[in-house]
């Protein structure tokens, strides 16, 4: 396996700089995000989108209100079907539980369907450390596993690579003859992966939603790898975040519809694999053992801290595709398994180790495109501002920023100081502008960031309020104007 050039543990500034300087990344993001966003709009507009969004949102809110009961109902039903449920409080618990299951079943090889939850808890590394071979079987995940890279998008993990680079990776790792034909590249992967499926002892997947009333885990895929992961190996393990729960089958199809339309712009996915338990006598296929690992890893804390709304997320990736920041820097710059606007909310609130995680809530212009695209109407901009408040309250800002803001607030609390600051600013900025012919080309101190790429207008020589005062001179002033000027 190749060693990756992508290092998520670098400082935020470096990650962003690297991303912005990467021309290939720019092309890759340009090709994919716009197309995915367009497909989503078309698919959502084909149905009563406002109603669908309302329904899913209400359902997810119901789930969060009744989480303990629904989780127990899910456990009861999975157990009744012959499966086993494991409760994992932290990431290390998932690692321990799955490694134990694998050891008991004498597992040598694991095939995996795409799963963000297992990425979040670094399950692959734990299994590999325990001596097992782990093969990702989603095409995108397989490519980045070959390249030794983490995923950079919730549903399109290899969105950061162009087909030209993917071809290079396959030529290097799998001796594929040179080609840019996606069909050929896919068939090479298919050939390799088919053998892995047939020789694997354990399949691991995430879970798009689990139905409490039936104890059924559902995975939504387009490549069929999910179906083979859940049916071919002897042991099948599902790792699911506790919020991936729906009460009933009807709710499952509600979420399914919102997910397919919002993520890939499909009416429905090519595969929907539903597993309610292990193989029963007389079944022609299915695993002998079926395990479900319920993952908390800070999700309950998110509810307690007031960020529970983010647990309504169905991981469709729509907010990434429309985010003007994500489109410039891609997923890796966020330094976390979860990128984009939702990643900037989840990463600081869930139990994850992310370098410079405090910077993520600030990686947004608060434009709100994400909230408009979200099928669950999550108010991401509001949560980003609240997270910034938390950063400030926890004293994680620089003294300089704090002093600046305090001075700003004091100045704005008095008309006299505001007006004199305006006068001073007008004088100073017009001097600066005078030197460079009208617009300010270079600002001092912390404002220098602005003038690196943009001019700045000098303050007006006569402010609005001064002009207003002149305008009122000699006029008969009535009513509220008496005490207002």
């Amino acid at each position: 396996m190749a060693t990756s050039t992508i290092d998520l543990t670098l400082p935020y500034k470096t990650r962003v700089k690297d991303a912005l300087g990467n021309k290939h990344l720019k092309i890759a993001l340009e090709r994919s995000t716009g197309r995915m966003a367009g497909q989503r709009v078309a698919a959502m507009n084909a149905v009563d989108a406002p109603r669908l969004r309302d329904q899913v949102r209400q359902m997810k809110e119901y789930v969060l209100r009744n989480l303990p009961d629904l989780l127990e109902q899910l456990e009861t039903n999975i157990t009744a079907n012959g499966g086993r449920v494991h409760w994992a409080k932290e990431a290390v618990d998932v690692q321990r539980i799955v490694v134990e299951i694998a050891r008991k079943a004498n597992v040598q090889k694991v095939v995996k369907a795409k799963s963000m939850a297992t990425e979040e808890v670094h399950l692959n590394q734990a299994l590999q450390a325990a001596g097992m071979k782990v093969v990702e079987t989603d095409l995108g995940e397989y490519i980045i596993q070959l390249a030794g890279e983490p995923p950079s998008h919730i549903v399109a993990p290899v969105i950061h690579r162009r087909v030209e680079e993917i071809s290079d990776i396959f030529q290097r790792e799998l001796d594929m003859p040179p080609t840019l034909d996606p069909q050929i590249i896919c068939s090479v992967a298919r050939g390799v992966l088919r053998k892995e499926f047939l020789s694997a002892d354990m399949g691991i997947s995430g879970c798009n939603f689990a139905i409490a009333e039936t104890g059924t885990c559902c995975i939504v895929t387009n490549e069929g790898n999910g179906r083979m992961t859940s049916t071919l190996p002897r042991v099948y393990v599902v790792v699911m975040g506790i919020e991936k729960l729906v009460p009933t089958i009807e709710d499952a199809f509600l979420q399914y519809q919102a997910l397919c339309r919002s993520s890939t712009g499909q009416q429905c996915s090519v595969y929907l694999s539903m597993t309610s338990g292990p193989r029963k006598p007389g079944d022609i296929d299915g695993p002998e053992e079926f395990h479900v690992v319920l993952l908390d890893n800070g999700r309950v804390d998110m509810l307690a801290k007031g960020y529970g709304e983010a647990l309504c997320c169905i991981r469709c990736g729509a907010c990434l595709n429309v985010c003007p920041v994500y489109r410039e820097i891609g997923g890796h710059a966020y330094g976390s398994t979860y990128s984009g606007p939702i990643g900037a909310v989840i990463s600081p609130t869930i139990h994850m180790e992310v370098t410079d995680v405090d910077k993520l809530p600030y990686a947004s212009s608060l434009c709100g495109a994400c909230r408009d695209a979200c099928p669950v109407k999550i108010d991401l901009p509001r949560m980003l501002v609240e997270l910034r408040r938390d950063v400030v309250e926890e004293g994680e800002t620089t003294l300089f920023d704090r002093a600046g803001m305090q001075a700003f607030s004091r100045m704005m609390q008095s008309r006299a100081s505001y007006e004199s600051a305006g006068k001073l600013g007008s004088l100073g900025s017009n001097l600066l502008a005078g030197f460079s012919g009208g617009a300010i080309k270079s600002l001092p101190g912390p404002l220098a960031g602005w003038t690196k790429s943009r001019d700045f207008p000098p303050l007006a020589k006569r402010s609005f309020r001064e002009q207003w005062r002149d305008r009122l001179k000699g006029r008969k002033v009535i009513g509220a104007n008496d005490d207002s000027v």
């Binding site: 608060l366 495109a369 950063v391 008095s414 309020r465």
Partner: protein
């Protein structure tokens, strides 16, 4: 969010929330706003104690520093509305209107008295184009512009306040103007307050995408409803040496904007140069 105030009789007098940026940097936008309102027979009052609504501090996470400014704003404007000295508050800014009419509820969450007052005030606070079109029912304000216009939809205006039809309606009634639609008109220009400084590189990349779309539209000016986005877009256009510039919609509607007329047809092709040997004088 409470519903907007309904008017049984047309509003006669409004308080202008001019915003600190307009006051200090772009007074002409404030003057244009006053002119537009007065032209509709609405008397404008300017409460001179107003400064900043506190948005920069709020967005940066400094809520403790933003709260006194929010209370101060409420203290200045809310009594005017409550005592019926004015019928409404009008601001030439989608962003500052959003701050005062939407975000104050969140900022003052644990201060029930001020929160209630802020929400009462918020219901009577209108962004300029919203006030003109939805409250006064005006579509044509008698503006004239000889040139090509395009419209940039500022984020807070469109996504927080849901205002998009109103400014577009007003622009479509500007006589003599050709209104063209740019690509991705509602995509963020990358300003985002302190974001433009703290994440300067990302902000610039976003802004360059925006200015590209603006110049590709071949418009003479791009009209918008927030001077903050205007400062950002113009800062980039000016640095790039572009001819196109951003203007506040009030400036267009108040006939403040003039563009140097330019030939819209292709310049006549120069006659082909004579063969080189004749140029050289070698017959």
């Amino acid at each position: 969010m409470a519903h907007k105030k309904q008017f049984e009789t047309p509003p006669r007098r409004v308080a202008l929330f001019v915003t600190c940026m307009v006051d200090m940097i772009y007074p002409e936008v404030g003057m244009a706003t006053v002119e537009l309102l007065e032209r509709q027979g609405v008397e404008v009052v300017f409460p001179a104690d107003q400064t900043c609504c506190g948005q920069p501090a709020f967005n940066a996470g400094f809520w403790e520093e933003a709260r006194p400014l929010a209370r101060r704003f409420v203290d200045i404007f809310e009594p005017l509305v409550r005592n019926k000295q004015v019928d409404a508050v009008v601001a030439p800014s989608g962003s500052c209107t959003t701050m005062t009419s939407h975000f104050y509820s969140l900022l003052l969450e644990n201060d029930p008295t001020y929160r209630a007052r802020a929400e009462f005030l918020g219901a009577a606070t209108f962004e300029l184009t919203e006030f003109l079109v939805d409250v006064l029912g005006v579509e044509a304000v008698g503006a004239h512009f000889d040139g090509v216009l395009t419209y940039h939809a500022c984020c807070h205006l469109k996504r927080e306040l849901g205002i998009d039809r109103q400014p577009r309606t007003l622009l479509s009634h500007v006589e003599g103007a050709e209104v063209v639609e740019m690509t991705a008109a509602d995509e963020c220009c990358g300003f985002g307050g302190l974001f433009a400084i703290k994440n300067n590189d990302i902000s610039t990349a976003m802004g360059q995408r925006k200015t590209q779309n603006i110049t590709k539209s071949d418009a003479d000016v791009v009209a918008l409803c927030d001077v903050s986005c205007m400062a950002h877009i113009n800062g980039l256009l000016s640095r790039q040496g572009q001819r196109t510039r951003a203007v506040h919609i009030a400036q267009v509607l108040a006939n403040q904007v003039d563009v140097t007329p330019r030939t819209r047809t292709k310049p006549e092709a120069k006659p082909p140069a004579p063969p080189r040997r004749w140029q050289d004088g070698k017959a």
